[in-house]
């Protein structure tokens, strides 16, 4: 083999194992899902087989009011939950960026929710919110509110699952922000202090601009994750009461593993994927813009 041929093919040869794995576990399932989304295939009716039906699964979705309600609910959940997580996480990081008594004790406690698996989180809060035996219900009764069974009331069920998600993932934003805060250069602060800037001005013109990139990464990761929320809601409410907490991922689960409509479930998954791609593209665009500003 001459040097030119080797130079041309060697990189491909070296990359081949990784590319094959990516194709098998990443690209193939995606295309198979796309293929399924254009078929009728019900596991409980194997005698009917798999039938190509073009975009019927998609049209059936887009004409269903339940789909649009679930879609809107997922957006509301994501915006409110992620918004709160960002504010609280960043706020806590600012607080922990300075020394105070008991910091070493409080710090690991704050991180506990993040290291708990979503199923356990769902179970813990399901029992905490239980209308008869739950701690939260007991407190609400003592306080004298009208609603005790938080998860049984459509007006309070969605806020309750948002609260749980915030409890679960605020530490993630907190940790990411704290790590970045600790690594910020000291010189801009010294310059600002010499110029006589107030605490608020330092935060607004020094800290926040330097934190933007990491906050955007946290926002991107949390948005993608919150949009796909499943475990906690499935354990806590199964989408109920009625359809008060029915989000897109639960609808995918229901179509695929309850009704065994593999085609419709796949179509839903594709729609969800497209939405997540659009959101992440928007974030990345903003991120690139911010990076460009910083570099200037």
């Amino acid at each position: 083999m001459d040097a030119v041929t080797e130079e041309r093919y060697l990189p491909w040869g070296l990359l081949a194992p990784a590319l094959i794995i990516i194709l098998l576990i990443g690209v193939f399932p995606l295309f198979y899902n796309l293929f399924l989304s254009m078929h009728f295939w019900n596991l409980t009716r194997p005698e009917l087989g798999m039938r190509f039906i073009w975009f019927k699964n998609y049209t059936s979705l887009f004409t269903s009011s339940l789909f649009w309600e679930a879609f809107l609910r997922t957006f509301v959940f994501t915006i409110v939950a992620v918004g709160l997580e960002m504010c609280l996480g960043f706020g806590l990081a600012l607080l922990f960026n300075r020394d105070f008594k008991g910091k070493s004790i409080v710090f690991p406690i704050i991180l506990i929710p993040m290291i708990t698996t979503p199923i356990v989180v769902g179970l813990i809060w399901r029992y905490m919110f239980n209308g008869e035996f739950g701690f939260v219900s007991w407190i609400l009764q003592v306080v004298g509110t009208d609603v005790h069974a938080v998860l049984s009331n459509p007006a309070t069920a969605l806020p309750a699952v948002i609260f749980v998600d915030v409890w679960h993932w605020t530490p993630f934003v907190f940790l990411l922000s704290l790590a970045r805060l600790g690594a910020l250069p000291r010189s801009p602060y010294e310059a600002a202090e010499i110029d006589g800037a107030s605490t608020w001005q330092i935060f607004k013109w020094v800290t926040f601009p330097m934190m933007k990139s990491v906050l955007l990464v946290a926002l991107l990761l949390r948005t993608m994750d919150a949009f796909k929320i499943f475990d906690e809601i499935f354990i806590m409410t199964q989408g109920g009461p009625g359809d008060a907490t029915e989000v897109l991922s639960l609808e995918i689960y229901r179509q695929t593993f309850r009704y065994f409509n593999m085609g419709k479930g796949s179509a839903l998954a594709i729609v969800m994927l497209i939405v997540i791609i659009i959101i992440s593209r928007i974030y990345l665009k903003i991120f690139q813009k911010e990076e460009a500003v910083v570099q200037q």
């Binding site: 596991l43 409980t44 009716r45 194997p46 005698e47 059936s60 239980n130 209308g131 008869e132 219900s137 009764q141 005790h148 069974a149 998860l151 049984s152 009331n153 459509p154 199964q238 989408g239 109920g240 009461p241 009625g242 359809d243 229901r254 593993f257 309850r258 009704y259 065994f260």
Partner: protein, 458 residues
């Protein structure tokens, strides 16, 4: 003297013939299972059913006799269908026996192996098995197009369980006779102390997997039908409206606990066992634990009766449920699996299961009539009466039943908590069910379906 010796001789011969023939008739399980000795059966069991907790214990006896090993996997009820369907559709050979709720049986049937060939095979079939001893409708739950796929281990249906002591305390002489009366009783029985409810008049099972079943009982008690002969949903009528209105009132007026929207059979029974409710619609088998003083504060204080029905002319139909072990087509050890199913559901084993482990849901007449067993469970006469009255029915035997249940449940749950009017909830549920069945092609040819498929009861 001669006459006496002749009689004795005749008796002796008769005795020998009897012993000989009964020996011939007796089934030799050890002999039949010899070719399969050393095989291992993998069973998938649904968690939460008492009989499934007993099978691993009693199964040791089967292994001792046959040398066939048993391996168990326990799956929560809510995950069973999903896990099984994935295994079956991918052709997995993991399981030799699947524990199936008869509610889901139509969804499984394409993947299962019927037992008829084995039952005709003299090398495998126990001649004393006596299929006719099973409650026929319960057995029907596992039959499809004339073939049998399992023998049910359990037979249970929803009954009214009530606190006799509280009834006496409030001057109520007997259980309610109509659904309206059930509501009025619930009002009388609800006890408050300083603004807090200490005893609720009733429980409700508002969880998405429980609400439709609970509503169907009083609806059928009015003589209502879910579908017409063409499988079009027809429960948008005055009967369902009355039922749902009362159901909603019980919840919104605080006669049932606020957490009822999260209750299914287990949660409702646990609440009731703590003495916090006076009446409960629940599956008969829950009585087994409710009568156990180590698990229940209300043991010995309970009455059991058929759930009230409004139409005196309507037969007191009950929606029967059961579980059974079925053999998938892909099972590795089918014959050994059949021997286990046959042994487990034999009169002797099922009697032992009830007598020693008190599961409380006999599927055989001989077991529910056994005096030792019958005295353990005060509700057994109800099971036998329903079977005798030809009142035991299955849910409509269509593959999509779970979807019908689920679609309706969403709207009925909204109605229960007062966020939708009963009229709108029923309208939306009927519309959703009809759309789904239309999508599945049930109305293409406008054909009429059998009563078994439509679940038409009257």
């Amino acid at each position: 003297m001669r006459k006496l010796s002749r009689i004795l001789l005749f008796g002796l011969i008769l005795g020998i013939v009897f012993i000989f023939s009964s020996n011939l008739m007796a089934f030799d399980l050890a002999g039949a299972s010899k070719p399969y000795k050393g095989q291992t059966l993998t069973l998938s069991l649904m968690a939460g059913y008492k009989v499934n907790e007993v099978i691993p214990q009693i199964g040791k006896e089967f292994t001792k006799i046959t040398g066939i090993e048993l391996k168990y996997e326990s799956i929560p009820y809510s995950e069973t269908l999903e896990k099984h369907m994935i295994a079956l559709s991918t052709g997995s050979r993991t399981y030799d026996l699947l524990n199936i709720d008869n509610l889901w049986f139509p969804q499984y049937v394409s993947y299962l192996r019927p037992l008829d060939d084995y039952m005709k095979n003299p090398k495998l079939a126990d001649p004393n098995f006596d299929v006719k001893d099973f409650v026929p409708e319960v057995l029907q739950g596992y039959q499809w197009e004339g073939k049998t796929y399992s023998f049910p281990e359990g037979y249970f249906f929803p009954v009214l369980i009530y606190r006799k002591d509280l009834f006496e305390k409030h001057g109520l002489t007997g259980p309610p006779k109509t659904y309206q009366e059930f509501y009025e009783y619930a009002k009388k029985l609800t006890e408050k102390e300083g603004g807090t409810t200490v005893v609720y008049g009733a429980t409700e099972q508002g969880q998405r997997t429980g609400i439709f079943d609970e509503l169907c009982t009083p609806y059928w008690g009015k003589g209502g039908q879910l579908f017409d002969k063409k499988l079009k949903p027809i429960f948008d009528n005055q009967d369902m409206l009355n039922v749902l209105t009362i159901y909603q009132k019980i919840y919104t007026e605080g006669l049932a606990p606020a957490g009822s929207t999260d209750f299914e059979l287990g949660e409702a029974a646990a609440f009731f066992a703590q003495g916090k409710a006076a009446m409960m619609w629940n599956w008969s088998m829950m009585g087994a634990d409710l009568e156990d003083p180590s698990k229940s504060k209300v043991a010995g204080k309970l009455g059991y009766t058929m759930f009230p029905k409004d139409n005196p002319k309507a037969v007191h139909y009950v929606r029967e449920a059961s579980t059974g072990l079925c053999i998938p087509k892909t099972a590795t050890n089918k014959e050994a699996a059949f021997l286990f199913v046959q042994w487990l559901n034999s009169k002797g084993t099922l009697l032992k299961v009830e007598a020693e482990y008190k599961t409380g849901h006999p599927s055989r007449y001989s077991v529910m009539r056994d005096p030792k067993v019958a005295k353990l469970f005060p509700y057994f006469p109800l099971l036998e009466k329903a079977a005798k009255d030809n009142a035991v029915r299955l849910v409509p035997k269509i593959v999509e039943w779970s979807q019908v249940d689920d679609i309706s449940a969403v709207y009925f749950q909204k109605c229960m908590i007062g966020k939708m009017s009963p009229k709108d909830a029923i309208k939306e549920a009927v519309k959703g069910v009809e759309r789904m069945l239309d999508d599945k092609g049930y109305y293409f040819e406008g054909k009429e379906y059998s009563d078994l498929l439509t679940g038409r009861y009257n």
